[in-house]
Amino acid sequence: MLKTVFKGKVWKFGRDINTDIIIAGKRKYDTLDIKEIAKYAFEAINHDFSKKVKDGDVIVAGANFGCGSSREHAPLVIKALGISAIIAESFARIFYRNAINIGLSIVECKEASEKIEEGDEVEINLEKGTIKNLTKNEEYHFKPLPLMMTQILNAGGLVPFLSENNGYQIKQ
């Protein structure tokens, strides 16, 4: 069963966080081991991020998170670091699809993106569409994902989704 409630401490980033910042292109050619590549996540803007981050932590960012390359390594390293969810004002579309495809929860919420600060403790409820800021005692609301994406996320990602449906043999 898909986990729909996440609680964690926030790492705050700005807008236009691109995939080269998330994981530099040069890091992805040497190995296929995502845990190894993940050591270099966000190295250009937050030194030793991979050592500081804790299981279940949440990333909160501004608009256009994940813009740039199509590299799936970007959401994969974030997931490999134990980040439970990303909240942003908006996401670049390839990153958005990639995150859902690998089963990483993402939430689009402008208010949360503006009000949440680094270090805040938040609780996200995907079913209810709510984010509780436990530090500031505030609550923000977001629109749930489109149906197609919910189905993929519920299946655990695109791989199990396509395996279960023999490709795209699904009722539209």
């Binding site: 691109n18 040497d30 390359s69 590299r71 990639n98 791989v159 699904i170």
Partner: protein
Amino acid sequence: MAGKTMAEKILSHVAKKDVEAGDIIIVDVETVFAHDGTAPLAFEEMKKMGVDTFFDPNKVVIVTDHTTPSPSEKISNIHAFLRNYCRENGCNFRGVGRGIGHQLLIEEFVKPWTVVLGADSHTCTHGALGAFATGMGSTDIAGAMAFGKTWLKVPESFKILVEGELKSPVSAKDVILKIIGVIGADGATYMAMEFFGETVNSMGISERLTLSNMAVEAGGKTGLCPVDGKTIKFLAEHRRKGFFKNLKPDQDAYFSKEIAINAAELEPMIALPHTVDNVKAVSEVGELDVDQVFIGTCTNGRFEDFEIVAKILKGKKVANDTRLLVQPASWRVYLKIIERGIAATLIEAGASINPPGCGPCIGRHLGILGDGEVCLSTQNRNFKGRMGNEKAYIYLSSPATAAASAITGRITDPRDFYH
């Protein structure tokens, strides 16, 4: 009922039903591509889906372009794995020095009125030939390689009307930099950018490819150009003879955003570090020394680009403290610049020619920058660390501006060198 955008027309054709922006559809994929940076993960995901053959090997293209020829043992092993995998599964494989995947797709595979997917964000390039072409991650690409289908949300479209005569050496690159500077790095997120107007009509295919190539830098899902006589002629000259219907948006199509650009008034443009939408006119930059100039990539590595560069460099020398790297986008481009004497002009001026591929643009080899260095490149992206060093500064311009700047050793308006 409102008329249709180009995106709606192509996707209605492919879905074999009437679709409009907002519809979620499952469609057949005509061409699917991945490269040495993204194919290994795609094959791994395909295996996890329980599929060990391609839906149609003739429609799958794998290119080792991001790091070619291999600069390390580890990458050589990845290349060997890809080569063997493609041989065993019978798909198209383009190896060392053949060129950038996007350029090879343009020269050999892409057809208008089809869906083209690539595990590379710049797959939007192929919209210039009237294909609904978009970049996706390795898992989506694995699904397409295994089953020959994908799901798409029919995007809303952004109308980009370009009118007026471009004054050489101002080119398509200046047009698209201007557009991104105005609408921003997320100005077209989730949308199809549709380029049209008299300027686009008078552009050759090479210039249209430059426009479409950078759609993703504004967040665009694809960048479409009309299909006209020039498109059909280009396809016929590149192994795709046949009947392809013209494409343009209906007069009464609904566009959720629009912008008009007056090409006649446009100056040479430049994007400053570290975002593509940080755009100014070259004339506004002031004195700025350049350590490396790089001319090539899927944005501006075609014959027509080097033709302009040679015109500016002819009989001149690259500045002493500046290096000029040139990289043809494919072996066909390379051969043509040799045959036409352009390669000789560039080498005499002091350029170093890299083998066809992505090279310095993705920061793995063949021209990595030093700490604090400034590079002026014709590529599409100037993110921090993009060219292999997060302490370097990347500026983006047209081939003409790059060539003029290589001569002076500082950012230079090419109009001073173009008569």
